[in-house]
């Protein structure tokens, strides 16, 4: 019952923050130096047309009214139309979500499955000579510029060794040879479920470089966080008790200690996922990945303000959602979390 209350309260708080964000994005759209109506009509619009458009778009109404309309539109899922493509921004976002989502998910799985064991391992080496190497390894992850790492990997594995493809989600010939059925939009799942082995291999190969590039920073962050919390946990009295009762090292480290250490690490995982949202941006640019990041880059280049604002709001609300999920997850795992 307490947990339910907590959940509801957190949801409410998140909505409040979300509301605050709409105010911010709305303010930004009105601060924009150029007139949205003029942008919409194009450079050759005549003043009367601009004035008419102003009326039509409600740009002459008082600000609170404009905001109300803005909010109303948002609640109906209307983020406006992209200036570049003339299609609704929501359509532009939803059609690209799967591509970015797949990339993020795969890199998250890579990051967690390498990062946590690396952190635990590193904590156990504390003070021993090899500790230097493992520490350096995880620090390297957080010191690499992602956009450069992508280029480096492209250079080595794509150009010099010719092992992996340089860009895109799939080979362009795939559409003719063994096209992937569109079920979820996640190519890995779709091709696996339909038994399309050729496509699956191709998709996987294309995913490797971008996902690894994206995972580098999270691996480093997760490993360091896990290491730090493991070291702190290992100092705790209850670990001393476990040792005083002769419990095996494996039990102590991987269950007694890790279960305690994983709690703050979850927060970090949430953070890295959020960080990956922006990292995906660079990775998509470098690998020409047809996802949300690439679209965002083009929108900024074209000064496509509706798209920019829509994406900002979408991205920020996604971020809030993730943080909310992480908070709730923590509350459910840690029996001590005070739900007040």
């Amino acid at each position: 019952m307490q947990k339910l209350e907590y959940t509801i309260r957190r949801l409410f708080l998140s909505l409040v923050v979300l509301l605050g964000m709409t105010v911010v994005t709305f303010t930004l759209t009105r601060i924009v130096p150029s007139n949205p109506a003029a942008l919409y009509l194009g450079a050759r619009a005549r003043p009367e047309q601009v004035e008419a458009a102003n009326e039509e778009l409600g740009l002459n109404d008082p600000i609170p009214q404009q905001y109300a309309r803005y909010l109303g539109d948002l609640l109906q899922g209307d983020l406006g139309d992209s200036l570049a493509t003339r299609r609704p921004v929501t359509t532009e976002i939803s059609s690209r979500l799967a591509a970015t989502g797949e990339l993020l998910l795969v890199s998250l799985i890579i990051a967690v499955s390498i990062g946590i064991p690396l952190g635990v391992f590193s904590a156990q080496l504390h003070g021993k000579p090899a500790d230097i190497f493992v520490r350096a390894f995880s620090i390297i992850g957080v010191s690499l510029p992602q956009f450069w790492l992508g280029l480096l990997l492209q250079l080595i594995f794509g150009l010099w060794l010719g092992l992996l493809p340089l860009a895109s989600r799939v080979d362009s010939t795939l559409r003719f040879n063994s096209p992937i059925e569109d079920i979820t939009g996640f190519f890995l799942i779709d091709s696996l479920v339909t038994g399309n082995w050729v496509a699956f291999q191709d998709v996987a190969l294309h995913l490797i470089l971008p996902a690894v590039t994206l995972a580098a920073y999270p691996i480093g962050l997760i490993a360091r966080m896990t290491r730090a919390t493991m070291l702190e946990v290992m100092q705790q009295n209850y670990i001393r008790t476990a040792q005083a009762y002769g419990l095996g090292q494996r039990l102590i480290v991987y269950r007694y200690a890790l279960k305690n250490a994983i709690i703050p690490t979850l927060t970090v995982i949430g953070l890295t996922f959020a960080y990956s949202l922006t990292g995906a941006f660079y990775v998509e640019i470098i690998f020409n990945w047809p996802g949300l990041g690439l679209f965002t880059a083009r929108s900024f280049l074209n000064l496509d303000f509706p798209a920019i604002m829509g994406i900002t709001l979408f991205g920020a609300s996604g971020y809030i959602l993730i943080n909310l999920l992480i908070d709730l997850l923590q509350a459910y795992i840690d029996p001590r979390v005070s739900l007040s």
Binding site: L125, I140, P145, T278, G315
Partner: protein, 308 residues
Amino acid sequence: MSLSKLFLGKSAEKLPDGDFDSPPPDRSGWQHTLYVIQRDVLALFSVGWILFIIFCAVFAPIISPYPEQGQGRNNADDRLLEPSTTYLLGTDNLGRDMVSRLIYGTRPAIMASLIVVSAAVMIGTPLGAIAGYYGGWLDELIMRTTDLFLAFPSLLLAMAIVSLAGPSLINAVIALVVSWWPWYTRLVRSTTRSLREQYFVEAARSIGVSDAVIIRRHILPNTITPIIVQATIDIGTVILATTSLAFLGLGTQPPNADWGLMIEEGRQFLRQAWWYSMFPGIAIFLTVLAFNLVGDTLRDIFDPKQYR
């Protein structure tokens, strides 16, 4: 686990043979810091590298082999040359010497990161101290504001600001300050809150010491060490951020030298002139790595529970 046995140092309970009747050597805090750094090879290299970078930034015109090219002058005859004895790290698309460009690239990196981190600390620390110490509605107000700023991915916020105000290094710096101060507010607030509960604060209040003095004399000095650790690491992180923005064209503008900008310029020549994009990346990497390592070492030093 068995792998780690390969790396086992001496077992935990070595029996030191020594003269236990002699008095212990007395080392002050500063000396101890130096002592630890000097023993740690990685930290030593990191500090050395940082000093080198700062040296480059300050004396760029003097130590660059081709200073005007470093600042942007073209040298069209020598486009995209491989590393050689004339141009140690090759030349870029406009024939400029890579070494000089890299040296001049230290300037925006160091300057921007120092400004951003100092500003963030100066804004965030008092706000965090007030929020943590007084609590109540003041705390709520400040924390909700930081939540709002933190709710936006910092890159997005920075990009939005820069695209509105126009791309330049200064605007990128401003955007980053706006994105960064909430972190320090949070950090100082949580440290202040836990310090406030400590008995020595209660003791001070009970003898009538004013709030401002308590904050200044008792609380803030104890928040310095986490701030220093965080700031050191953040300098590296901000360098990553400024070069990332430059990569997108939202930071340093050509013809100025910037590591991120150079990587973007070199992207289209990756096949034929790999050095154009690769070397600036290595520079960023090494510099950020150095700051991270130093920050880590400082953290180890300041935490009395962890012995090396």
